[in-house]
Symmetry: C2
Subunit: 412 residues, 2 copies
């Protein structure tokens, strides 16, 4: 006969610290075309092998000249310059200037050796094809980007662990780095277990439900940058469950087990995890709802998470844990959550001793801003999450939030 | 001899409305495995073909019984029930109960026909293998999820245009929808033009720079859910530029042209766009900095954007425009920006008549919260964006922000 289970719950952050203390991921790297490395974490620091720009260039359309020739120029007393021709784009200047001379130059064009400033067209008047008036003085370097001004040769441009954004890819290519070493993405194995589970394509029979955790968790793992590997459905039978969990742990870097929500299913998962390797289970029970009966373990050098079987709990706990695990595996900084501010439409109460996560729907408020409507009801209904725009976190040991409170909603 | 150019700038939102008025994207759909459709926009409304759950199930570990048998039970005066056995997981109950009887049931188990409530283990005491005491009364339906309580057959579960999140994939699979019609992703063609441009892998020669816009823009287009197609580098020669732009427009759904930043390069791009088809250029000049000399056009039923050549302007303008174009192509809702709040370290001034976008670096503040440090300097240096954590928008016709102001920073 089953018995109620008791365990000391632990805050999520503390459980992750405990896991970190027992898990040193082996750094694995791969080299990719820089253009194909969006979102990947750099395996090492990257320094600029060459300066950008490589030559002095104009930032405007105008005339390359010597600033000294412009000193004292004004509309009333313009400086006169001899126009010696036009500088091409994309080539070294075939011409240079002497005192009192200027050359037509385009934005991005390379300055001739003796020029040190560019007068904008708007500040000049062409007298005829070979002479122009300059109506104001220029400082040396005005309207010029110096060689190496964007980045100097040898400068650190991106630190190890940076996740590449579009501009980072551009910066790497700007200095000619067309291949780049990045951290390998963790392989995240997902094994479901339960005699009640059928693959989604199967016809239902009484008492059976479709396995959806394999799919919600793999989609989340992929969205977070991992490589999801669905390991199928194990029957609720110790030898089969153990064998499939062992094979999954071998093939992956992080293993998620999703079993039923009954005490017997959880006991089963505990036993399977304990037999997967040392040190085994580190913590049973998180101070978070939904998701309390989660198991945190490290087995043979890899994190193993035993998730509650109900789809909402499994998905929300994975959302709490997996970003940290993936970032740590890749040596990347953890992306900060980007909550939206909204005003609560009604009170959200909270029990002490746990943090609560409440699904909310967001509405535009007439006067601008957002309203957050808590979606109460049974927490284990997946369609509650489908109707939600985000999650409200009610921190540990607070009394909840009053109606009208301004809160932060994490998109989900 | 070139002349300075003059045009009436238009706010970004107004330019997008103008573009929408001339662009009706042809809806294109494709059918994918639901499990592979993360992030895709639904082509049509989706209704549940069957209820979830399909049967009445227990939400707890306990005893299935008739609530009427529990009325009046208390620790002082428990109700006695005959225990008739255990219900299996994943199968229809082989047993049923009569008045005064109970069956052991696990979380997620299917209720027998005559039971209407489940007593939690904690509220019972087993007397021996075939009898138990019930210590409190139960309401009918207590600890039971009714058939169809999560979602009813026929209910709208996801509206056309919804982008599929992990929970949405789970919900579709829960009702057996294993393939799903989604909008096609727009093909976004990117053509660079300029005699100064070399492919990133080429050795630089004086006056040449590496083409990075093709890569920053394609990375951004992919990050936003588009299918980027790099169309290479056209020489700054009218016939070649025109021919490559025409071929690109034919092969893609949206065309981005990135040419030099000189007036002559922009004139060239204007002429090329005007010859691509009707109605042609709708607006030349946006009230935004960087990015003012942008061209907005629709040619032969497809948006064409003429971008400034400098990498920062090109990337930031694309960031302003492309999310809208992609969402409209897919019939999806535009994702809202999710800014982070931070306190400005120093004043940011602004000119009237335009909105300014200023790159900032974020720092954690000692007492919690974030500080935003504006990164001033020449706006056309790509490494400024590499060192930035986000962008501050200074709205049109405001005087800027004072030091210490609380502002919203859009991650970038």
């Amino acid at each position: 006969m089953p018995s109620a289970e008791f365990f000391q719950v632990m805050p999520v952050a503390a459980a992750l610290r405990l896991l970190d203390a027992h898990w040193q991921p082996a750094a694995a790297t791969e080299t990719l075309a820089t253009a194909a490395a969006l979102g990947r974490a750099l395996a090492g620091d990257v320094h600029a092998p060459e300066p950008v720009p490589a030559f002095r260039k104009s930032t405007v359309d105008g005339y390359a000249l010597r600033a000294a020739d412009s000193f004292g120029a004004s509309p009333a007393l313009p400086a006169f310059l001899a126009l010696r021709g036009e500088l091409p784009m994309g080539a070294a200047p075939a011409l240079d200037i002497s005192a009192g001379e200027a050359l037509l130059i385009h934005t991005g064009g390379m300055l001739p050796a003796s020029a040190d400033a560019v007068a904008m067209l708007e500040h000049t008047q062409a007298l005829h094809a070979s002479e122009l008036e300059l109506l104001r003085p220029l400082a040396p370097g005005e309207n010029v980007i110096q060689a190496g001004e964007d980045v100097a040769a040898g400068q650190l441009i991106l630190a190890a662990g940076s996740r590449l954004r579009p501009q980072d890819i551009g910066a790497l290519l700007a200095v000619g780095i067309t291949n780049i070493a990045v951290s390998a993405r963790p392989r995240i194995g997902i094994l479901s277990c339960g005699d009640e589970l059928l693959p989604p394509a199967a016809a239902l029979s009484p008492g059976k439900i479709r396995d959806i955790n394999s799919y919600t968790l793999s989609a989340l793992a992929e969205a977070l940058g991992g490589q999801a590997q669905r390991l199928g459905i194990a029957r609720d039978e110790r030898a089969e469950y153990q064998q499939r969990a062992r094979a999954g742990l071998h093939a992956c870097d992080i293993l998620l087990l999703s079993a039923g929500s009954s005490v017997s299913a959880r006991d089963h998962t505990s036993a399977v995890i304990s037999a997967l390797g040392q040190p085994g289970i580190l913590q049973h029970g998180l101070a978070t709802k939904p998701g309390k009966p989660t198991i945190i373990a490290v087995c043979d050098g890899k994190p193993v998470i035993g998730l509650p079987g109900n789809p909402v709990s499994a998905l929300m706990v994975t959302r709490h844990l997996l970003p940290h695990l993936i970032a740590r595996f890749e040596g990347a900084r953890l992306a900060q959550p980007q909550p939206r501010r909204a005003q609560l439409t009604q009170r959200v109460a909270s029990a002490t001793g746990r943090e609560d996560w409440v699904a909310v729907r967001l509405h535009e408020r007439a006067g601008g801003g957002l309203m957050a409507q808590p979606l109460f009801g049974k927490s284990n209904l997946i369609f509650t999450l489908v109707g939600a725009d985000g999650l409200l976190r009610v921190p540990l040991n607070t009394g909840g939030f009053d109606a009208g409170a301004i809160v932060e909603i994490q998109p989900f």
